[in-house]
Subunit: 215 residues, 2 copies
């Protein structure tokens, strides 16, 4: 619903970057992009500013803007940060979530389970994100919630990869149930611990995957 062409282009470019259409270090050529989007350089430049500010690209004055895909080390750091932020959300949510929100969480969990039984991976990814977002919301801190969603968004592509590990889906579901129970009990510490582990293992799985690919 953006009126500004520049905003639409920024969104599209963001999607393309997340989708891995660009390699790390690729230069975003203003003229080529302008041609591609059928606009002048002006809206392209404004879109590039957005990418740079949000950390997805780097700007070198008089040289251009270059996309910056996180390397293995940065990805691990991001997963660790995500794990800790989720743990924080869980800790707060344990004492703040309403019964309604807990029911919504249980529903989301059920839908995850259904998606697995239907072998509908896309739907599982989607419902899984919903499950976690309900917890962010449950922390009753919209600033924190925004931060969590932002990071979740940035890690989406990599989360998908690691979820393909054999047996991971089943284990992930059992962790979900455990988390749900801790939240129901209002057990802040255990919720935090469970969520931290639940997300941190994703980083570890990803690490394993990277290591196995290197060989």
């Amino acid at each position: 619903m953006d009126i500004r062409r520049a905003d639409q282009i920024a969104d599209t470019l963001e999607q393309l970057v997340f989708a891995g259409e660009f390699q790390d270090g690729d230069r975003l050529d203003e003229l080529k992009l302008a041609e591609q989007f059928h606009v002048s350089r002006t809206p392209i430049r404004e879109a590039l500013q957005v990418l740079v500010t949000s950390g997805m690209a780097e700007q070198i004055p008089r040289r251009g803007v270059f996309i910056r895909q996180p390397g293995p080390v940065e990805l691990l750091e991001m997963f660790e940060t995500m794990a800790e932020i989720e743990a924080v959300c869980g800790r707060l949510a344990a004492t703040r979530m309403s019964d309604q929100e807990l029911d919504a969480l249980a529903d989301a969990n059920d839908r995850c389970q259904q998606a697995i039984q239907a072998s509908d991976h896309d739907r599982y990814y989607s419902e899984n994100e919903t499950f976690h977002q309900i917890i962010y919301r449950g922390a009753a801190n919209s600033f924190l919630e925004k931060q969590a969603k932002q990071l979740q968004n940035r890690l989406r592509a990599y989360r998908r990869i690691q979820l393909r590990f054999r047996g991971r889906l089943r284990q992930s579901m059992s962790e979900h149930s455990e988390i749900l129970q801790f939240l129901r009990d209002g057990d802040a510490d255990n919720t935090a611990r469970a969520l931290r582990g639940h997300v941190a293992v994703q980083g570890e799985k990803f690490h394993q995957l990277m290591a196995s690919l290197k060989r």
Copy 2:
């Protein structure tokens, strides 16, 4: 060291916003700013994009960009988030900081103490930030470190206000010493707890101040 005028302007505007030169809802007039900075609208617009992307201003298409100062509720949320992020940094730092880093932390703490004895508030603020930044660094996660620094930066102005509370400086120092000791002991849980409290109390003090001003 920016070559781009637009970047310099973005920095300046950011400073001005943090310094409270603008009221919430103020429109940033492109023409006036262009005149003020002796440039055309182009670099101004690129600077405004940066402010909008980093959340300091809101853009309404075809209407302009309006600065968004956080209200009391959002500030409390930001302080709470800061407290939790610092706690996370502390938890990780407890098992990851080198002896060198611990010594640097002790030095920073000493300099805080000296600044207080010299009644040099500006220097205290500065050294205090250093103290905390060493802990962020100690978490050995540069992504997390960047996030922490960013939030620290956004809350700077408000932290200054609340530190004026009577007796707060002394108490703050004793908390620092406690945190340092927990880090030395490698006690992750207690470091996290102490840091969370240390920062959370800032939010509470700020809240008290707001409430007293409302009357």
